[in-house]
């Protein structure tokens, strides 16, 4: 021992020591290199991020992505600003793709064998087994391979077809549950074009949505939200109006100016009734069309409709009046809540409505041909039949999860068990791959080549943004197909890799494009820009006779039984790809604020009738299953409807933190290192178990609405956890019969959300003798010039102070922010972005139950009661550290761990923090988060951590930093170039993700910056809690309502 430590050994040991500490903390993982590349590519500089443009495959919208990588690892997903679909924005689910890339549930290597006999194989063997099976199948006569995979609109389909041909042909099904086929089918019948058109919301003045939750899951939420914002935020001459007609309000409906509740399945009656009312004045229709439509719409009189739907005749007339805008209105329909057995019928009704209102060709543009959704589920139905008949020898399932996402009644599970050889190509170990005879995991799409053609005239490229995640042995899907083809010895493919194949197929795109560049440069440019972005040619359409073939039927909701809706949210959808992503579980559902759980939404009146109280467990039964779920009373449903979120109920990998929840508080709860290992737990409940295998008759869309359900009171408390601080009072409140049917969830007139209205009607909030009341509403004049309030005194003073010419503490930068509440939809994309960017730990359900949530940014949801309309209204406000000039947190810290930087930020020095938590107490906005323990980032999720942001240890306070590291990065670049930072050069993570462009960030000292311009001119600005005089750097812009009304 005595001679063991020489100079060499000392250096070795210290290197190992520091590497271990830096890379793995104190865990017993093997030593990893800090920098994974021994000979880095020329562009690689440690510490600098590299961005790669690619295409998102999380849903079929195929938004453009820019993936930020550091040290060879993808750490953040952002939207591609060049892509016309999402224009640089990215939704919550899109942000969470990184948790799919680094998912602990990812399959590590190919395996073969079923259940207990499953063993790891090397790729060569795995491919050999597969090819043998496929060749054997071909020899049995061909046409006996079934391929169920992700919908992909690009080159991959060609490759797949060729590949299937090689093995004697088979069936390929693109599997997706989003109900959009009804839209295509209806357009085929109505206009002779089986396509998804472009909905130009920005061109409309009135938007009428029949259940289409375009802010959450319908079509491309990023594109449509942006388009909607252009219409609704008053960027144009007038502020557009948005009316939502649906049995379920949803996030989208909660943002509407008016929500019209209708019985489930009756939307089309309303659409047709409106058409009938508009028909008389539709001058653009030819007489023949008019007569035909008159006959068709005969039965839909106002009185009849009013009787059917329970919507008053006055209201129907008002709707028709609002919609009459000579081609400047738009009606849309879709979404889970209206996807019943009559989904196509509704789409046709909406097509007629648009046609009668003259919107076709103006706000509804055909020719775009959006490639959204998958094949009709009738194909699954026939595949199940064929599997039962033994027609398929090999079934390949790639990255879709039909076992989990189809209801049991579909018989898919039993049918699959009859197939001799089931192969899973899925990246993750999911419920379906567990049943496979062989699992050949393909790489995540962030590690693979590919392309997509989401719309005509638009092709986007998908490139690997990083090498395969370390310790995972996977193959790109394209390469897998090419390699297996080569194994047969008779490959039709010249390409060695899918990259080459893709490049070859892009040669035709090059020749089609008007590009002046040679192919190599064209390819390079496309890679850099993420694709080729052209426009589509709008096509003229007229109403076809086919529309009349779908006879309108009026059938009233027969009995008073309850109808179940399986609804999507901005965080989860029925495809359930987000159901095991912990970010999407930790972040509260925007309306209910529930985390890590499923729940059932019930109308308060229905609940009172059944004796169910808020937060209690309810026994929910259908003919297929029964389950106990927590009741969440909410007026945002039709009385005869209940809603359960779709996409939950998956097994989630999460560290097994011990909790004293539900135990005797006096006895110790001791946690060992073993407890911190990943444990797989089912989170929530899979609503598909309750549903029947029902589909829309014409299009085969899955019927998410329409299942009959019975509720039974259990009287037991649920362990529902919400982030809403008023929830506990709600469930404790003795009376369910108060004004809104549940507890008071308003902001108690504290001015977090402030409202103006477009006309001079009085405030919607109850007048109370109090001076603070003034801040909550203002009377507005009809006169345009004084549309808004005079500039808020606080904001004005603030801007004056900030803009002082004398050199001061803050030169040359003082970072400030504007949040426009009129634009914010509450979709929570910013929250996910914040979690991803800032290494915010996840605490789990038990953690949140005891107030340990770590979110730096939260969307607060308030339900205000409007005394004028006698209705509750929903408001959202994003709340983050306000970076106060006169902050409460700073003076109380005894060790200066938090202080004011020269940039005007409240810096937080983690290393200096001793954890007195006084700053948290003294923060009026309650934006500080304390690390109650050292939280885990279970492998391989730790690879997603942003190296520019410290990972905080136990005992340290943290909070929003205005993405200080992004500011730092840009400051360094600007300094190198000898200039100041340009406006807009820095985007905070939340701002970057916001599809509605609600967040503006910049330097208030810069006279030309957007934030300065905006703050000094807006008349909607206000700061929150101004009487405390913390002088926050965030100015909120008031929500603007139509006529003091809102959904």
């Amino acid at each position: 021992m005595k001679n063991n430590i020489n100079r060499r050994n000392f250096f070795k040991l210290s290197a190992i020591g520091s590497a271990t500490v830096a890379a793995t903390g104190c865990s017993p993982d093997p030593v990893e290199e800090l920098i994974p590349l021994l000979v880095p590519p020329y562009e690689y500089v440690p510490g600098e991020s590299i961005h790669y443009a690619t295409t998102c495959q999380e849903c079929t919208a195929a938004c453009g992505l820019v993936i930020r990588t550091r040290e060879g690892r993808a750490i953040k997903a952002e939207g591609n600003p060049e892509n016309p679909l999402n224009r640089g924005r990215l939704c919550a689910q899109g942000q969470a793709i990184l948790q799919g890339l680094y998912s602990p549930s990812r399959a590590k290597a190919p395996t073969s064998g079923k259940d207990a006999a499953r063993r790891a194989v090397i790729w060569a063997d795995g491919q050999k087994i597969l090819v043998d099976k496929l060749v054997a199948a071909r020899d049995k006569g061909g046409k006996n391979i079934l391929y169920i995979g992700l919908p992909r609109s690009g080159t991959f389909q060609t490759l797949l077809q060729q590949w299937l041909q090689l093995f004697g042909d088979g069936t390929a099904i693109q599997y997706d549950l989003n109900p959009v086929n009804s839209l295509k089918t209806a357009n085929q019948l109505s206009f002779g074009r089986k396509e998804i058109p472009h909905f130009a919301m920005d061109q409309a003045e009135v938007l009428l949505s029949f259940g289409a939750d375009f802010m959450e899951s319908w079509l491309n939420p990023m594109q449509l939200t942006r388009s909607y914002t252009q219409m609704h935020s008053g960027m144009k001459k007038s502020k557009g109006k948005f009316i939502y007609v649906s049995p379920y309000m949803s996030l989208t409906g909660s943002n509407a100016d008016e929500w019209v509740s209708c019985p489930s399945g009756q939307e089309y009656v309303i659409a047709l009734a409106l058409s009938r009312m508009l028909l008389a004045e539709a001058a653009h229709l030819n007489p023949q069309e008019k007569t035909q439509l008159q006959i068709y719409l005969e039965g839909f009189s106002i009185e009849k409709t009013a009787e059917m739907t329970g919507i008053s005749a006055v209201q129907l007339q008002a709707l028709a009046e609002a919609f009459k805008r000579a081609g400047k209105s738009l009606a849309i329909a879709g979404g889970n809540s209206s996807a019943g057995k009559d989904a196509t019928r509704l789409q046709i009704a909406v097509n007629i409505l648009n046609y009668v209102a003259g919107n076709i060709g103006k706000t509804v543009l055909f020719g775009a041909d959006y490639q959204l959704g998958g094949d009709s589920l009738e194909q699954i139905e026939s595949a199940v039949k064929a599997m039962n008949e033994g027609r398929y020898e090999v079934v390949i399932i790639e990255n879709v999860n039909p076992i989990f996402t189809l209801p049991a009644e579909s018989g898919f599970n039993q049918a699959l068990s009859k197939v001799p050889w089931v192969v899973s190509f899925s990246t993750e170990n999911d419920e379906t791959s567990a049943l496979a005879d062989q699992h050949l995991p393909v790489s995540h799409f962030l590690e693979s080549w590919g392309d997509a053609a989401p719309r005509s005239g638009l092709v986007s490229l998908q490139q690997p943004t990083m090498s395969v995640v370390p310790a995972f042995d996977t193959l790109e899907i394209g390469d897998l197909l090419l390699q297996t083809a080569r194994l047969t010895g008779e490959t039709p493919f010249a390409a060695v890799s899918y990259q080459q194949y893709l490049q070859e197929s892009w040669r035709s795109k090059h020749s089609q494009s008007a590009s002046q560049l040679d192919f190599k440069q064209f390819w390079k440019q496309s890679l850099q820009r993420g694709g080729v972005y052209g426009d589509f040619q709008p096509a003229q359409v007229t109403l076809q006779g086919g529309v009349y073939s779908v006879k309108p039927e009026i059938s009233k909701h027969a009995d008073n039984s309850l109808t179940l809706l399986a609804v999507n949210s901005s965080l989860h959808n029925a495809n359930s790809r987000g159901g095991n992503k912990t970010w999407l579980l930790e972040i509260p559902h925007p309306i209910t604020q529930v985390v890590w759980d499923s729940w059932i939404e019930i109308h308060p009146e229905t609940a009172i009738k059944l004796g169910i109280r808020h937060g209690e467990l309810v026994k929910v039964s259908t003919q297929n299953d029964s389950v106990e779920l927590a009741a969440w009373l909410f007026y945002g449903l039709d009385r005869d409807t209940v809603a359960i979120p779709a996409g939950l109920g998956r097994k989630v990998a999460f560290p097994g933190y011990r909790s004293s929840r539900g135990r005797a508080k006096f006895l110790p709860v001791l946690e060992s290192a073993a407890d911190l290992k990943i444990q797989y737990k089912t989170v929530g409940y899979n609503v598909m178990n309750l549903l029947s295998w029902a589909r829309d008759q014409q299009s085969g869309d899955f019927a998410f609405a329409g299942e009959k359900v019975t509720l039974q009171r259990t009287g037991r408390k649920s362990d529902l956890v919400t982030l809403d601080g008023q929830y506990r009072q709600d469930i404790k409140s003795r009376k369910t019969e108060d004004k809104s049917g549940f507890g008071d969830r308003s902001q108690k007139e504290r001015g977090f959300v402030q409202i103006v209205s477009t006309d001079g009607a009085p405030s919607p909030f109850e007048a109370e003798h109090h001076q603070l009341r003034k801040r909550h509403y203002t009377l507005n004049r009809k006169d345009k010039s004084s549309f808004y309030d005079p500039l808020d005194e606080n904001v004005r003073q603030h801007v004056q102070m900030a803009g002082k010419e004398t050199p001061g503490y803050h030169d040359p930068y003082k970072w400030e922010m504007i949040i426009d509440l009129d634009r914010c939809t509450g979709c929570s994309a910013c929250v996910v972005a914040c979690y991803a960017e800032n290494n915010i730990p996840l605490v789990g359900k038990n953690g949140i139950a005891v107030g340990r949530e770590m979110s730096w940014l939260r969307i607060e949801r308030y339900i205000e009661y409007n005394s004028q309309t006698q209705k509750p209204e929903i408001y959202y406000t994003p709340e983050m550290c306000q970076q106060c000039d006169n902050a409460g947190c700073e003076p109380v810290c005894p060790v200066y761990a938090t202080y004011q930087t020269p940039d005007g930020l409240n810096a937080m020095i983690y290393n200096r923090c001793v954890g007195t938590r006084y700053c948290s107490n003294n923060c009026a906005y309650k934006q500080r988060r304390f690390n109650y323990r050292t939280y885990q980032f279970p492998s391989p999720l730790h690879m997603q951590l942003n190296p520019a942001v410290s990972v905080r240890d136990k005992g340290v306070m943290e909070k929003c930093t205005f993405c200080q590291h992004r500011i730092r990065e840009m400051k360094d670049i600007a300094k190198d170039q000898g200039r100041n930072i340009y406006d807009g050069e820095i985007q905070t993570a939340c701002q970057q993700s916001c599809p509605a462009d609600a967040i503006t960030f910049g330097n208030i000292k810069d006279k030309n910056s957007r934030v300065r311009q905006h703050k000094s001119t807006t008349k909607r600005g206000y700061t929150q809690l101004p009487e405390i005089n913390f002088q926050p750097a965030i100015t909120y812009l008031k929500k603007v309502n139509h006529n003091n009304r809102k959904a």
């Binding site: 107030g851 607060e860 007195t916 938590r917």
Partner: protein, 439 residues
């Protein structure tokens, strides 16, 4: 009093310091096991973080700060009795002041632990001290927490010095009664006090001076502790009444704790029952009922001001306290602090030892709840309704609280065995001087 003489006082005090018997040992085992619960819980908390304490968002201060204020409050009575009542020449203080002073010292020692226990990173507690360092890091003198550091350390050093000063003649008396190594110990401890006129002259001057120094501290310490709250912008904390309100509350709880300790002490050492007379305890009872009225008045004023100011957040909070989800704590507090002491207006209760004992225990409970109400409910119901919360007690903080009582009583138990728990010299002052011819 007639049968008590200088000699009997000496004898009884020496008796109380005899080697411990079975009851003492059994109690000490109990006390030490309570302490070890606390030590275990704290070590677990150091390893694990504050995960298993009930502190949460938004209630970032909980049981630990409650305990801190509680113990600091208890630490008030001793100096009040020894210094303030000495200055105002209140004779009833003499029999009880020594034990009360010991109680003060130990209570402050206990209280001093809690700011450290409650830290997220307790191992960096020394960063709160302004020591010169290479990195030129300094502390924030604007922070009330830093004022606490100075207030408490000043109070602790002065009360310890005062305590020791008062002990000197008594230790000398014990020295004279003891033999062997024990004698050597007391000889060293009594600093060569021989009871000469010269020494007495200087001693009494010094004692008076210390009493004068200690008196303002009695008021300043708890005022400063109250400013931990009053300086913050939290509704329910941000109030100018806090300093007097806290001082009154501290005296209230301190006097109750004196009774809680004196009554069993009197029981444990039957010789003391003639020295610590019922009329002394009765005086403490009067103090309790008086301070109880002040505290009750403060509660009422808080509510009135919340109403009268019209401040929305204050009003909401003061509605939340009695009627919100944490109302149990409020009503228990009102019961213990405002109603329970009222019987002390009646002489019969004031002079009944069991009644005094029960009342003193309940007042202690009530005062703990008062601090919890201030810390917990205010934070639970702040400005942002979305960030309202509730408190759930967790095992670590419960165990640490039990441990703090263990820590306190451990010192007290040691104290009664090694130090005179009755002020021998000052008791003698109250007796008629012994004349040789009369004996």
């Amino acid at each position: 009093m007639s049968q008590i003489s200088y000699g009997t006082i000496n004898d009884r005090v020496v008796q109380s310091m005899e080697p411990p018997g079975r009851p003492w040992l059994v109690s000490m085992v109990l006390v030490l096991s309570a302490l070890s619960m606390g030590v275990f819980a704290w070590s677990y908390q150091l390893r694990q973080g504050l995960e298993y304490s009930g502190i949460s968002h938004p209630i970032a201060w909980g049981v630990y700060i409650t305990n801190f204020v509680f113990w600091i409050g208890i630490g008030h009575a001793g100096t009040l009795i020894s210094a303030v009542l000495y200055l105002v020449r209140a004779p009833f203080r003499n029999s009880i002041y020594r034990a009360s002073e010991a109680m003060t010292v130990f209570a402050v020692m206990t209280a001093g632990l809690f700011p450290v226990i409650h830290l997220g990173r307790a191992w960096f507690a020394y960063w709160l001290l302004p020591y010169p360092n290479q990195r030129e890091l300094w502390v924030n003198f604007k922070s009330p927490l830093l004022w606490d550091v100075f207030a408490i350390s000043t109070y602790m050093s002065v009360s310890i010095a005062f305590f020791i000063l008062g002990l000197i003649p008594d230790l000398a008396a014990i020295r004279d009664e003891s033999k062997g190594p024990k004698r050597f110990f007391y000889k060293m401890a009594s600093l060569g006090f021989r009871g000469t006129n010269h020494q007495w002259l200087h001693y009494m001057r010094g004692y008076l001076l210390f009493a004068a120094i200690a008196t303002p501290l009695v008021f300043s310490v708890h005022s400063i502790v109250s400013w931990d709250f009053a300086m913050a912008s939290v509704p329910g904390w941000h109030s100018t009444i806090f300093a007097p309100y806290f001082v009154a509350g501290a005296i209230f709880s301190g006097c109750a704790m004196v009774l809680t300790i004196m009554i069993p002490l009197r029981k444990a050492f039957p010789g003391f029952s003639e020295i610590i007379q019922v009329k002394h305890l009765e005086s403490m009872g009067k103090m309790i009922v008086f301070t109880s009225l002040i505290v009750t008045y403060s509660y009422a004023v808080e509510f009135f001001i919340a109403y009268y100011s019209g401040a929305r957040y204050e009003r909401a909070l003061f509605w939340f306290r009695p009627f919100g989800e944490m109302r149990v704590f409020f009503w228990l507090m009102i019961f213990c602090n405002c109603l329970v002491p009222l019987p002390l207006f009646i002489k019969k209760f004031r002079t009944s030892i069991p009644a005094l004992f029960i009342i003193s225990i309940l007042v202690n409970v009530g005062m703990w709840l008062e601090r919890f109400n201030i810390v917990g409910t205010s934070l639970a119901h702040e400005y942002d309704p979305f960030a309202w919360g509730s408190y759930q007690f967790e095992w670590v903080e419960i165990w640490i609280t039990i441990g703090s009582f263990g820590w306190f009583f451990m010192w007290f138990f040691i104290f009664v065995k090694i130090m005179p728990s009755i002020a021998v010299a000052e008791m003698k002052e109250t007796l008629p001087p012994p004349f040789r011819n009369k004996r």
